[in-house]
Every structure is written in structure tokens, then in C-alpha cells.
Subunit: 341 residues, 2 copies
């Protein structure tokens, strides 16, 4: 360590004791103006700065929280991280980043950050169906908040978006714009998000007295690639769906590309509705009509929940739902006789 001046050096130079300096630095002591000035001068002269580790060791807390995401180059998680950093910074917490890569052992490794006191709390995002292994590990810890996707059976506080409501709004919009044969292409059926979005989809169908057709339901990954594959399957159906509710924007983007490759246009031949409203949703052609869930808000809310949990250990686990909204752009077109709503 390139040794810097210590608190003792400052104390000596200012003619005070370590304790006084420490207390002053922590605003636990009001010094006479003159003394304070002398102290500040000493700090300036020496270029003193407290050693983070000594401070943390002594206090027993790290003032740092961890964020574990499957990947950071995914636009959704990047936006979530942005929100988390913002909120953490405003509470004077550092944010340390872990990339889980959807690999259990890596994910579990990050839990060690809590053991070693490297972080005071952990924001955890995993979008991989869990066989219980991750859950069991998670449940050994406190000060964890789970974001975006559930890890069933874990006792932590959780922040999700309102998946059911989102799907409900979206599919209702599809129905009200005259679509009657609406497919649903979503993520892994084992994931809560996919289950809830499916529930909203079915609810909307039921509300409109439309029959649920299981052949119109496709489950895969929340990826662009899977969207392209799904387009092929969907285009081969007779009769072809007139709309697709995609479980994510990445799927929706793949769908558009896939249909285009097959000579089908969106929204000419089919309408497509996404979910998430990540930045690229507004860049593709046609622009994606989608359900916005604000990833940044989720990140911020996660940090807030975590800080609350940390400061009130007895606080019961919460399950927060962040709001969603329908964003109308160009990938849904009105069909048939009913006027648009």
C-alpha cells in the first residue's frame, strides 16, 4: 500500500487526539471554529483521506451493495443497473457488480460477498429456472432482494413488474384493435414472469369470450433467436395467427425479423406486441408496440427495499410490483370492423 497519512498524523499536526479527529470527521463532534479550521488545514496539508478498510473493519459494515445480473450487455439489465447505481450512490453506497452468466456456481459464489462482509446487501437477478439449489443457498442469508424474476421458495423481499396486468393490458389492446387469433410466444414456462404473462393473456382472452388455444402458445427463451424460430413455427399454422403477444422485446424483435424473412410483414400480415420496452424497441421497423416496464425504476426500488431491510432487520419480506404501461407504436394495426379504442 502506498502509505498515505493516517488519522494520527493529522491529529498530531492539529494538536488533537485521534479520537477527536475521528469524531469530527463523522460529524459526532462540533469543534470550536478555530480548532476546526486548524484541523481542516492539517487535513489539507497532509492530503489525508480515511482508509476505507480500516473504517469498515472498525464499523463492521461495508457501505457497499452488490448487484448480480445474468449479463450486463442485455439492455434490460443494463438499465436496471443504471437505476441501482443511481439510487445506491445517492445513499452513499457503492455498487459492486457481479455477472452470473446463468451459472449456478457463479451465482452462489457471489453470495460469499455477504459472508466476507464485502457487501452489506445483495440485489439478485437470475432468470434461469432454479432446481432449488440457488433457493437453498439464498435462504441462508439475510439482506438480499430479488429482482425481476422470482426464485421460488426464497424468503427475500422481491421486486417484480406487474406481469399479469401488463399482459392483460397488452392483449386487451390487441383484441380491441380487432385481433382474434392471438398467439403468445414467451420465455421458459418454468419462470414466474412467463407464467404470469400467460395468466394475463388468458384472462384477456376470457374477458373477451375468446377461446384459449394451446397450440398458439409457444415457450422458449426470452431471446431474439427464439423469436426467429417461433416466427417459422407460427407462419406454418393454418389459419395463421393475426397477432402475436411476445413475452419480451427481444422475442418480438426476432419475430419481426423472422416473419420478414418469410415474406410476411408486420403489422401488415400480423401485429406484434412486445414486453419490456428496452431501448431497441424504439429503433426497429416497425417500432414496437410494447408493455413498458421500467428497468431503471426496478433497480432503484430494489435498492430502496434493500436499504430498508438492512436498517430494519425485523421488517417482513415485501413483494413489490412496479407499474407497467402500454406504449403504442407501430407494430400493431387495427383489423376488421371494430373501430380502434
Amino acid at each position: 500500500m502506498s502509505k498515505g497519512p493516517t488519522i494520527s498524523d493529522v491529529a498530531t499536526l492539529a494538536g488533537l487526539s485521534k479520537g477527536a479527529v475521528s469524531r469530527y470527521l463523522n460529524n459526532k463532534l462540533v469543534l470550536p471554529a478555530e480548532t476546526a479550521a486548524r484541523l481542516e488545514a492539517a487535513i489539507q496539508t497532509l492530503g489525508f483521506r480515511r482508509n476505507h478498510f480500516a473504517q469498515r473493519l472498525s464499523q463492521g459494515k461495508s457501505e457497499t451493495i452488490g448487484l448480480v445480473v445474468p449479463e450486463i450487455s442485455d439492455q434490460f439489465f443494463a438499465e436496471l443497473a443504471e437505476g441501482a447505481e443511481l439510487e445506491a450512490a445517492s445513499a452513499n453506497y457503492g455498487l459492486i457488480l457481479g455477472i452470473g452468466r446463468n451459472d449456478v456456481s457463479r451465482e452462489i459464489d457471489f453470495l460469499r460477498w455477504l459472508d466476507t462482509h464485502m457487501v452489506d446487501g445483495l440485489l439478485f437477478v437470475s432468470n434461469r429456472p432454479d432446481d432449488g439449489q440457488l433457493r437453498d443457498h439464498l435462504n441462508r442469508y439475510r439482506n438480499i432482494v430479488i429482482l425481476d424474476e422470482d426464485i421460488p421458495g426464497s424468503h427475500a423481499s422481491k421486486v417484480f413488474c406487474d406481469n399479469v396486468q401488463g399482459a392483460l393490458y397488452g392483449v386487451r389492446h390487441l383484441i380491441s384493435t380487432g385481433h382474434r387469433r392471438i398467439a403468445h410466444v414467451s420465455g421458459p414456462s418454468a419462470l414466474m414472469s412467463a407464467g404470469e404473462r400467460l395468466a394475463g393473456y388468458r384472462q384477456a382472452l376470457e374477458d373477451a369470450n375468446l377461446l384459449f388455444d394451446p397450440t398458439l402458445l409457444l415457450n422458449g427463451r426470452y431471446s431474439r433467436d427464439y423469436g426467429r424460430q417461433a416466427a417459422i413455427a407460427l407462419s406454418a399454422m393454418h389459419p395463421r395467427p393475426d397477432a402475436v403477444f411476445a413475452g419480451s422485446d427481444y422475442i418480438a424483435i426476432g419475430l419481426i425479423e423472422g416473419f420478414l424473412d418469410l415474406g410476411l410483414t408486420v403489422p401488415g400480415d400480423l401485429s406484434i406486441l412486445g414486453f419490456d420496452d428496452i431501448a431497441p424497441a424504439d429503433m426497429v421497423t416497425p417500432r414496437l408496440t410494447t408493455i413498458r416496464q421500467n428497468a431503471q425504476t426496478m433497480g432503484r426500488e430494489g435498492v430502496r427495499q434493500l436499504l430498508a431491510t438492512m436498517s430494519h432487520p425485523a421488517r417482513p419480506a415485501m413483494e413489490i410490483r412496479t407499474p407497467i404501461a402500454l406504449v403504442r407504436r407501430g407494430s400493431v394495426r387495427h383489423r376488421g370492423r371494430n373501430p380502434p379504442i
Copy 2:
């Protein structure tokens, strides 16, 4: 702090001294098989894990590096962060994230991480023209590596992409596909990247005996919005350019949108060439022909440079250039008589 077992507890239980346990844990001591087993058992039983802060305080290093980026929801920086985390993790370093928001005072705040020993080194990305303030602060520190965009006058090691070469390849491609009136819409002229890309552009023009026309050069921000504005300006020119070399993919995407709004098609009326090859480049219509610079590689290389700097303090500052490549997609179309290359 929820007190866990300490190294003393382990030592007592295993019938050894703290020192022995510590040394064993650090592989600085080979214990007889039987003793080792007893020790391991004690660690298991107690669920012992070393306190990160005690360890770091005692050793005087943090095994953590910081990454400061202007924002993380920008696809380019997200990919860079992904690479950095990957490389850091494989060297057993943690990565702590700071978002500078192109705000000098925030950026400078992050430098304190070095003072307080919170990080051993810092990866720094700022894409704001600097008036010297940031440079002066940076130059007070060691163990900093600057990425992506230069901060002129700073003595740190630097990792950039090969801007000149990239622009040269790109514009050469435009020329070889029959374009003769090539505009260049780029970022802030004060930034190194913009300067170098301009140099490559001019070089390509010169090589082809084409005259540089200053009215075809527009400088603004590396953003989609600026691309849209530039489209308006460009479309009003007589004669109109037949191609645009954009300084970034975000600009290129804005350009495509802007031209479309004005009733001009890409690549029908004009060809567009981007720079960066961020993920959305492959999602827009038409798909963007662009110069790929691999942000993830840059992140990895940055960490490598930083670790090298940290372990060899005498090592001179390096300036690394990561390779670029032309990615041909759909936004450039052949024009005129010359056959495509």
C-alpha cells in the same frame, strides 16, 4: 455486523494458532494431512469465512478495481463493462461500478476510491471534452487506465480502438461502392475519437483523389438525436450527399430515422456507414453497415493493462489500439458504374 466466527475460533477449535490458520489459508504453509483435515473440519463446522476488510486492511490492498463510465445503459459501455467484469473476475478481482454522467465533479469523486484504498486501480471512461480539470486530477494518481476516449495530457495507460484505420476502411468501402459525395457526421470535434475518425475520412478521400468539402462535415454529439438533426441539415444540401459516414452507430440510427421522416430511403437515396457495431446496429432497418470495434475486448484489455500496471509500477504508460473491422450489412448500396469490390 452479524458476527461470524473469527480465525481465532477456528484456531482454538482446531488446536492451532491464528498464525498457522492464516498461513494455511494463504497457501503459505503445508500442514500434515491429519492436521489439515482437522482444520478443514473446524472451518466447516463453524462456517468460517475470512472478513474481507480485516484481510484487506492487513494486506493493504483491496483486490477490487473500479470502472467509471458515463452511463451504463448505453449499449457500448454496457458491453465494455461486461468484458471488464469477465477479465477482472478471472483474476479474482471485484469490479465496482461508477457512473460519471459526464459530470466532472462526479468523475472526480470516483478518484477518491483510490485515496481511500477502496480500489487498487481504476478503469476510466469519459466522453466529454475536458478543460484540463479532469486531467489535472487524474495525473495525481497511479493505477489508472483510460479507455475509449482520450483525456488529453493524462499520463495513464490508454486503450482505444484504431479510429483512423476504422474510418479509412469504412470510407474506402463507400468510395469503392461508387459514392462520391460523402458526408461525415460525427461527435464533438474536441474529442480524440472524432478527430481521428475525421483524419481517416480525409485520408480515404485523398487516396481516391476526392476533394475534402468542409460543408459536408458536421460535428455534434454521438447520439441518435443528433443523427436526426443532421439528417435534416444534410437533406437540404444541393447536391445532396450520396453517402454519410456516421461517427457512431447511434448517430447512424438517428440519421436513418431522420431521412425516413423526410421521405428519403436508406440505402436507396443515400448510403450510411456507422461506427462501433453495438447490438442495435443489427436490429434496425436497414441493418447497419458499420465499423466494428469490440467494446468487450476493450474492457478486457483495459483490465489486463491495469493489472500489469499495478504489479509493475515502473512499467511505462502504454497506448494500446484494439483492432477494428468492416461489417457489411444493408445500409450501403453500390452506386454508379464501378463494380463493387
